[in-house]
Structure formats: C-alpha cells, structure tokens
C-alpha cells in the first residue's frame, strides 16, 4: 500500500530513522499525549489528528450528537490597536467593521491587490481593539502582509499597531450540548449569547474571551484562555462525561459537511470573495466605497459575474478527493474538486469544488474521476448537513 495522504503536510512515515521536524507545541500538548492523541505535524505544529481509542468517525459523530473539545491553539490570534484601527483593517478585508456593534464578529477574508484571497479570518470588534483569528498555515504570510501594510499606513500618519497573542490557548467546544456545559461551568445564563458575538467570561476564576462561533456547523464556542490556565480549563470541560476530545481529522470532516472552506484547498489567492460565495461578503457601503486591496477587480466581478462557482456534490462510489476532475454528461472537463471525503453524518461521500458557471445549479448531474474511473455525482446545496447556529 502506498500511504497517499491528502491532509496537507502530513506524511505517515514507516521509516523510523527519518529526522523529526522541530514542531511547535500548543499549551495542551501534554494533555493530548496523556489522552493518546495521534500527533501529526500540521503547519509547523504537533497536533492530534484523532485520539487512539476514538478515531475520526467517532469524534465527528460525537460532535454532532453531544459535544467535542478541540485544541485550535495553533491558529493565529492577534489584536489590532490604535485609534485608526478600523479604517486600517477595512483596507485589508472586505468586511464592514465600522457598522458592527461592539461584541460582534464577522467571517471575512484578507485580499491582495488582484482581489485574490490571502486568508480567511474571523474578526471580533471590541470597544478598544479588534481581536482577529486566522489560519495557522497562513500565520507567517498574514503577519508579513499586515505588518507591511501597517508600515505604509503609519507613514501616511495613521495610528495603528498589531500585537500577536502568543500566550493564550484557543479551545473550541462544539456540539448541541456545548451551551449547557458552559452554562454549568460559569453559572450564567447564555441564552442571550448570540451566534457570532463574543464576551468575557470567568470559568471558576479562569478568565476567558469567549466567542459563540466555530467551524463545525454546530452551536459552539471558541474560548481564548491564558496558556497557563488552559489545561485546567480543558480538564474542567472534559469533567463532563458527554464531552470528548476531538482532533483535526474530525474538524475537517465536520467543516466539510457544514460547507465551510479550508484555505489552501477551497480558497487560495486565485479565488476572489465573490467566487467562493461568502454570504454577504460585501456590504453595501463597502461595495460603493471600495477601499480594500483588489477592490477594482472584485467590484468589477460583482457587475460582470463569475466564470466558475463553488458547489457541493454527492458522489457515488469511492470518495472523490481534492483535485479529482469533474466532467459533464458529454465527458467534457468542467471543474475540479477542492475538498472531498466521506460524510459520517449522511453516510455518503461528499465533495466541494468549482465548476464552470452554468453547471452549478442544484440537481445538475455530473461525473467525477476517481482512480481513472468516472463516477456519478450530483450538485446539492450546501451545507450538506443543516447548521444549528444559536441565532
């Protein structure tokens, strides 16, 4: 067997003499090892892809039915500060930060001069700073980009600064039981805590920044907590028997079912925001005023339309993985899969990809090539599994 692995930067090495890379460890590294996490290199970090006595399928299904705790501390967390911070960040992303109330968050993208996507990101607006989270794999790229732009902005007299948060862990508690568990832990009513908002909460004297958000399609929370308290908080949460740990493998299968993109696969700098169909990427004001990198191209696309569209597919036969070609019924190449695999919830194989405009409508019958065989596929609406956000 050849261990052809589609997870980026993971190689299952059978040769034990291979030199191990120097990997970064999150504040929960010891906990992962204690709980028999299968550790793999990911974006320069040693992360659990799943846990030994569980496995990806069980962790995935457990999240949809109960609640799972993910360590996502490898992701980049930073703050943008200074009196011109909103104007500055709006020059780099397509979101309307100005109109957001304090405590609100938004999923947006950093764009480049061509309108291509540098990374996707979640931005939380607080009274005196912007709290931003972006992908671990893009951390260096994002920081270089933002720092360069800060330099330019400051030269023109703008007041802004960036502070990387490198002393805090990030935990994601996701699933239908997540709210109930956090409520017990903090002894507060969370029913008015809406999706895509954040607040500061103490869990038994552990202070944290909690955002009601996640990347699984379930109700859930992302908790930023000091590295020194993170193990204690994780253990408090795991003290509830309905919570299990879950790794990056389940995180990927969950987000795929939720129709959410993974940068580096479904998004890259050849994709513009309109193309990947981020819901309301461009509010009215930003559409009219522009003022972000690549605005010309992006706004032009809004007028002219796009030549390809992001779609979801249900695939018959073997799972269709990234880079599988998509054909129409006349066997012409019309697109490509960018993410794909089994859907544990639906018990079918699902895929996300881009197809030529015209072939993107729901119900369109297409074919996907897997190991040189054409398999039937059908376009379906995403999310594949309905989301359960607390709105």
């Amino acid at each position: 067997m050849a261990f052809n692995v589609s997870l980026p930067m993971v190689t299952i090495k059978r040769n034990f003499a291979a030199v191990p890379e120097k990997l970064k460890q999150t504040p929960l590294y010891n906990l992962h090892n204690e709980k028999r996490g299968k550790m793999v290199p990911f974006a320069g970090w040693s992360m659990p892809v799943h846990y030994a006595n569980q496995g990806i399928l069980s962790e995935h299904l457990h999240t949809r039915e109960y609640a799972s705790l993910f360590d996502v501390s490898h992701m980049l967390q930073f703050r943008i500060l200074g009196k011109d911070r909103i104007r500055f960040l709006e020059s780099l992303v397509v979101a309307d930060i100005e109109e957001m109330p304090f405590g609100a968050s938004v999923l947006s993208v950093f764009t480049n001069e061509n309108g291509g996507i540098i990374d996707d990101t979640v931005i939380c607006k607080h009274a005196d700073h912007l709290y931003v989270v972006s992908n671990a794999a893009c951390a260096d790229k994002d920081l270089d980009h933002i720092r360069t732009k800060i330099g330019e902005f400051q030269k023109k007299g703008g007041w802004v600064d960036l502070k990387v948060i490198d002393d805090r862990a990030l935990l994601a508690l996701q699933g239908p039981l997540a709210a109930e568990i956090l409520k017990k832990l903090c002894d507060k009513d969370l029913s008015d805590f809406k999706f895509m908002t954040s607040r500061f909460i103490h869990f038994k004297t552990i202070e944290s920044h909690v955002s009601r958000s996640g990347y699984t399609g379930e109700d859930g929370f992302e908790i930023s907590v000091s590295a020194s308290s993170s193990q204690r908080l994780a253990k408090l949460i795991l003290g509830y028997p309905s919570v299990h740990l879950a790794g990056l493998g389940a995180r990927d299968s969950l987000r795929l079912e939720a129709g959410l993109c993974l940068y580096g696969h479904d998004l890259d700098d050849s994709i513009t925001p309109h193309l990947f169909d981020l819901k309301n990427p461009l509010g009215k004001r930003r559409r009219v005023e522009g003022g972000f990198l690549g605005a010309d191209r992006i706004l032009a696309q809004l007028k002219e339309g796009v030549t390809r569209r992001r779609v979801g597919l249900i695939v018959e036969g073997a799972p269709a993985r990234e880079n599988s070609e998509i054909y129409n019924s006349s066997d012409e190449l019309v697109g490509k899969v960018t993410s794909g695999g089994p859907s544990p919830t639906l018990n079918k194989n699902i895929a996300m990809g881009y197809v030529k405009s015209g072939y993107h409508k729901n119900g369109t019958l297409l074919k996907v090539k897997v190991r040189n065989k054409l398999q039937d596929a059908k376009i379906v609406k995403m999310p594949f599994v309905p989301s359960k956000y607390h709105k």
Binding site: M1, A2, N4, S6, L7, I56, L57, A318
Partner: protein
C-alpha cells in the same frame, strides 16, 4: 490463484513488523502454512496454489477508520507489485499491491458492504 481478504486477522508475528519484509511461519496440525509480508504492508498466506491476501494490523492502525474498500473483480489477473484494489480511510486512499502474480478467484464481499 489469489483470494482477497484484507480484513482477516493477522497473527501476533506482525506486532514486530518493520519496514522490510518478514517471513512469518505458522504451524498447523496437518501442514506447514507459509505467510509472507511485503514492504508495502500486505501479507499473503499460501496453501498449495491458493493465496489469501490481506493488509497488516500495522497498516490498519495507521489508516484508522476504514470507510471504503475497492476490490478487483473476480477473474482479474494481477501482476506482482501491480495495484489490486485500494483501502480508504477518512483522510486518504491507499493502493493495495499484489504480493505475487495470479488471478483473483474470490473476494470478501463484506469489504464493500461494511468496510469498517
């Protein structure tokens, strides 16, 4: 002649499996049965002219949850080291290579119905 049963139990000899091939021997009451391993983690158990192929526990552990198995059709002739099927985990697909040349005579139907 080859019989493909990738999920059959392999014996305790496998727990010491290294990257290079090993010779496994089992003693049966009537005859000595030979089991050999390949570098690619397939094993073959040969009795007279019938060989049974599987993948090792090591390979199964490395794969994790198996979600799909592609099996060759009965009657297919395979060459040594040629692909003869695939095993898929949640995250990856891995080809299975034939340890020896032969013709598929039987396939474990359970592999397609319940790969896990």
């Amino acid at each position: 002649l080859l019989r493909l049963f990738p999920n059959l139990e392999a014996q305790s000899l496998e727990t010491n499996l290294e990257a290079s091939s090993l010779l496994g021997l089992e003693l049966h009451l009537e005859n000595i049965v030979v089991k050999k391993y390949t570098k690619e983690h397939e094993w073959i158990h040969v009795e007279q002219d019938l060989g049974t192929i599987g993948i090792t526990h090591y390979a199964q552990n490395a794969l994790g949850d198996v979600v799909f198995v592609e099996v060759p059709e009965v009657g297919t002739v395979v060459e040594q080291s040629g692909t003869c099927g695939a095993v898929e985990s949640v995250k990856a697909a891995s080809d299975i290579y034939a340890p020896v040349s032969g013709k598929i005579v039987e396939v474990n139907q359970n592999l397609e119905k319940s790969p896990g």
